[in-house]
C-alpha cells in the first residue's frame, strides 16, 4: 500500500504553530483523521507536545514508543476517552472527516459510536456473550427488533472470528471465555455499533502468542472495512500488522511514515535507537 512519506517530525511541528506543513497523504486512500497541535495535560504535567499526524482510511496505523511516551494518551484523544479523567485537558484539533472531534457541537456519545475502542486487558461486561455484543446496538437503538439484533450479534461475532467458537453458548457469561476469546468478543462488541474507526490499546499485551496471532489475523481482515489505529509495545507486531507507523518519544511524535520504510530506514536517530533496541 503506497503511503506517503511523512516528513514533519516533531521539531517542525513545534516550530510551526497553526496550520502546519501538512504531513499529507495526497493520493491513494483518503485521510480519515487529521490531528494538529495536540497538547495534553494531566493537571500540571504535560503529556503530549504538539502532536500532528494524518491517519489514513482503511489501513492499520500503529503507534510505537517506550512506555509513558504518550501513545496511549494520544489514542484516547481520538474518541475523547480522556474526558472521563477529570484532571485531563486537551488542546489542538483532531479532525475526523473534516469535523473537529473536540468541537463543542460534537457529542462524545456519537463520536464514540463512530470510533470504537479495544483495551489492553479484555474487559467483557459481566453479562452473557450475546448481551455483550448487543450492548452497543441496544443503547444506541440500532436494532428495531429481536431478529435484527440477533443478526447484528451474529454478523459481529462472525467478523470477529468468534462465531464458530461461541454460537452454541451465546447465553453464557462472556467472562468465562479464554483471554484471546474475550479480546475478540470485545472487538465484536466494538464492531456491532458499526464504527468507522477502531482504536486498539495494546490489544495483545495480555495474551499468549497463539491468541495474539489470531488477533493479528483478525486485525488484518478488519482493515478492509475500518480505519484501525493500534498502540503496541512490540515492534514486530507493528511491522506485521500495520501499513503506517508513528514513533512517539517523551510526549512528542518523533517520526511517522510507511511501516517498511521506517523499520528499514528511520530518519531520526531516536527512532533508529529504539528500533535497534538501544532503549525502550
Amino acid at each position: 500500500m503506497p503511503m506517503n512519506r511523512d516528513d514533519s517530525a516533531s521539531h517542525e511541528a513545534a516550530s510551526a504553530p497553526g496550520e502546519q506543513a501538512a504531513p499529507a497523504v495526497p493520493s491513494g486512500p483518503s485521510i480519515k483523521i487529521r490531528a494538529r497541535d495536540i497538547n495534553v495535560f494531566y493537571g500540571e504535567k504535560q503529556a503530549l507536545f504538539d502532536v500532528a499526524i494524518d491517519i489514513a482510511e482503511k489501513s492499520v496505523t500503529s503507534f510505537i514508543g517506550p512506555s509513558g511516551c504518550g501513545k496511549s494518551t494520544f489514542l484516547r484523544c481520538m474518541n475523547r476517552m480522556n474526558d472521563t479523567i477529570p484532571i485531563c485537558r486537551v488542546t489542538g484539533s483532531i479532525e475526523m472527516d473534516g469535523e473537529d472531534v473536540n468541537d463543542k457541537s460534537i457529542d462524545p456519545v456519537v463520536l464514540r459510536a463512530r470510533v470504537g475502542m479495544v483495551f489492553q486487558k479484555p474487559n467483557p461486561f459481566p453479562k452473557s456473550i450475546y448481551e455483550n455484543v448487543a450492548y452497543g446496538p441496544r443503547i444506541h437503538g440500532l436494532a428495531t427488533g429481536k431478529d435484527e439484533l440477533d443478526a447484528i450479534v451474529e454478523s459481529s461475532l462472525r467478523r470477529a472470528g468468534l462465531w464458530d467458537e461461541v454460537s452454541d453458548r451465546l447465553m453464557q457469561p462472556g467472562t468465562g471465555l479464554s483471554g484471546g476469546q474475550q479480546q475478540r468478543l470485545v472487538i465484536a462488541r466494538a464492531i456491532a455499533v458499526g464504527p468507522e474507526v477502531i482504536l486498539m490499546d495494546e490489544p495483545c499485551s495480555a495474551l499468549d502468542p497463539i491468541a495474539t496471532a489470531k488477533i493479528e489475523e483478525l486485525i488484518d481482515e478488519l482493515r478492509e472495512q475500518f480505519c484501525i489505529v493500534i498502540v503496541t509495545h512490540s515492534m514486530a507486531q507493528a511491522a506485521r500488522v500495520s501499513q503506517r507507523t508513528a514513533f512517539f518519544h517523551m510526549g512528542r511524535l518523533v517520526e511517522s511514515g510507511a511501516t517498511d520504510e521506517m523499520f528499514t530506514n528511520p530518519r531520526d536517530s531516536r527512532t533508529q535507537d529504539y528500533i535497534t533496541g538501544r532503549f525502550g
Binding site: K58, V109, V110, R114, I139, H140, G141, L142, Q225
Partner: protein
C-alpha cells in the same frame, strides 16, 4: 473525497445511517442522563437536608436552655414561723413566697391562694437553701437572708416565649395574675436573665430548673474510661495475634468470622449479655460505670480489632522482613517495628470506636442505667447515669421544660463526639503515612 470505489460508498452510507440512528435518540438519552444525575443529586440533597434539619432542630430546641431566669429574694427568717425543734418540718417555700409577695406589694388573701400561686413560680430549691442555711447557723433566725436561683421551669418558659400570654388562660399552666407578677418582677429587676451555669454544674433532678448534665457527663467519662482500658488493649493484642501470629487454619477462620459477626450484632443484645452474665452470674453492681464500661467494651472490641488489623495490614511486609533480616524474633519485629508504625491507624480506629460507645444507649437501658441518679457518681461501682441515657430519661419526662434540656443534653453529647472525632482526624492527618 473523489471517486471512491463502490464498496466504500455503501460502507459510508451505512455509517451515515448508523450516525443518523444514534443521533435520533440522543435527545432522549441525554434527558435520561440528566434525570439520573438529578436523582443522585436529589439523594445527596435529601440526606444533607435531614442532617441540617436534625441538627437545626436540636439547636433551636436546646439553645434556650443556656439562658436562665433567676430571682434573688430577701427572706426574713421570722422566729415565729420556725419551729426550732423540728427544722425539717418548716414550710420554707411559703416564707419565700411571702417575701416575694411583699416585694410585689401585694397582700395575701385569707386562703393563702396568692402565696400558693407564687410558690408555683419559685423553685423548691429555695426552701432547701433556707433549711441548709439555718442548719448551718441557727443564729440566722430572726435576721433576713438572701436566697437566689432559677425560677421554676414554668415561669422560665414564659420568659422564653414557650408559654404565651395570647393563648387562652385555661390552656396555660400559668394564670394571668401569675404572668402579671412575673412581668412586674422582671421590670423591677428582681428577675434577672443570665447564662445557665447550673446546667453544667448540677446533676439530674426531678425539677427541670434544677436539672443539669454534670452527673451524666462524669458518668459517661468514667464509663468510657473503663471501656477504653478494656477494649483498646485487648482489641489491639487480639488483632496483633490474628494478623501477625495466628496460623491460617480453621480455628482462626472461626475467630475471624466470629469477629465480623460480632461487629454487626444489635447493641441491645449486648445489654442482655450484661444482664444475664455480668449482673446475674458474676454479680457486677447494677447501674455502675464499671458494668456499663464492661458491656460497651465488649461491643467496641470487634471494631477496635478490625481497625487495628487493617492498619497492621497496611504496614508493608518489607518492614517485617527487614526486622527478621537483622535477627529479630517475630515478637520483636511486631512490637518494635510493625505495631509502632500501625499506631496512628490503631489510635484513630480506637477513638472512633469509643466515640460510638459514648453515644450508645440501648444496652445501658438493660443494665439499669435508666434509674434516676441525682448526684455525681462517686465510684466505679456506684449507680450512675450517662449522657445518652440522660437524654432518653428527659425525653420521656412529661414536663415541657425537660424537652429543651433534652435537646441541650444532646448538644453536649454531640460536642463531646465531635471533639473525639476531631482528635481522631488530627491523629490521622498528622501521623498516618502512606506506603
Amino acid at each position: 473525497m473523489t471517486d471512491l470505489p463502490l464498496t466504500t460508498t455503501t460502507a459510508s452510507d451505512r455509517a451515515r445511517d448508523i450516525r443518523a440512528a444514534v443521533e435520533s435518540r440522543l435527545k432522549i438519552r441525554h434527558a435520561s442522563e440528566r434525570r439520573f444525575k438529578l436523582y443522585g443529586q436529589l439523594a445527596i440533597a435529601i440526606a444533607l437536608g435531614f442532617l441540617v434539619l436534625l441538627l437545626g432542630r436540636i439547636v433551636t430546641q436546646g439553645a434556650s436552655t443556656f439562658v436562665v431566669h433567676s430571682i434573688s429574694v430577701q427572706v426574713p427568717l421570722d422566729p415565729a414561723r420556725i419551729d426550732q425543734t423540728e427544722l425539717e418540718g418548716v414550710n420554707y417555700d411559703l416564707m419565700v413566697a411571702d417575701a416575694v409577695l411583699a416585694k410585689l406589694g401585694e397582700k395575701d388573701d385569707d386562703y393563702g391562694s396568692k402565696s400558693e400561686a407564687i410558690k408555683d413560680l419559685m423553685s423548691p430549691d429555695f426552701g432547701f437553701q433556707l433549711l441548709n442555711m439555718i442548719k448551718a447557723d441557727a443564729s440566722l433566725i430572726g435576721k433576713t437572708v438572701t436566697v437566689s436561683g432559677p425560677l421554676r421551669a414554668n415561669a422560665d418558659l414564659y420568659f422564653k416565649g414557650e408559654i404565651k400570654r395570647a393563648s387562652p388562660e385555661e390552656e396555660r399552666t400559668l394564670t394571668n395574675q401569675q404572668l402579671d407578677w412575673l412581668d412586674a418582677l422582671k421590670s423591677s429587676g428582681v428577675i434577672t436573665t443570665g447564662f445557665n451555669i447550673g446546667f453544667f454544674t448540677k446533676s439530674d433532678s426531678t425539677e427541670p430548673e434544677q436539672a443539669g448534665v454534670l452527673g451524666a457527663v462524669v458518668g459517661s467519662a468514667m464509663m468510657l474510661l473503663v471501656t477504653a482500658f478494656l477494649a483498646v488493649p485487648i482489641g489491639v493484642m487480639a488483632a496483633v495475634y490474628l494478623e501477625e501470629f495466628a496460623p491460617k487454619n480453621r480455628w482462626t477462620d472461626v475467630i475471624e468470622v466470629n469477629i465480623n459477626n460480632l461487629a454487626a450484632v444489635p447493641s441491645i443484645v449486648y445489654g442482655l449479655l450484661g444482664l444475664g452474665l455480668f449482673i446475674n452470674t458474676l454479680g457486677v453492681p447494677r447501674s455502675s460505670p464499671l458494668l456499663g464500661g464492661l458491656v460497651l467494651a465488649l461491643m467496641a472490641l470487634p471494631t477496635v480489632i478490625i481497625a487495628t488489623r487493617s492498619s497492621l495490614k497496611a504496614v508493608p511486609p518489607s518492614i517485617r522482613e527487614a526486622a527478621f533480616g537483622v535477627g529479630a524474633s517475630r515478637t520483636q519485629a511486631v512490637f518494635h517495628h510493625v505495631l509502632p508504625l500501625a499506631m496512628p491507624g490503631v489510635m484513630t480506629g480506637s477513638i472512633l470506636a469509643l466515640a460510638h460507645a459514648l453515644g450508645e444507649t440501648a444496652p445501658l437501658l438493660m443494665i439499669g442505667m435508666v434509674s434516676f441518679v441525682p448526684g455525681v457518681p462517686t465510684g466505679f461501682d456506684q449507680a450512675a447515669t450517662v449522657l445518652p441515657v440522660q437524654v432518653f430519661i428527659w425525653e420521656n419526662a412529661s414536663e415541657r421544660a425537660f424537652h429543651e434540656r433534652t435537646a441541650a443534653a444532646i448538644m453536649v453529647l454531640l460536642v463531646f463526639m465531635i471533639l473525639m472525632n476531631a482528635v481522631a482526624i488530627i491523629v490521622r492527618r498528622r501521623f498516618e503515612r502512606r506506603w
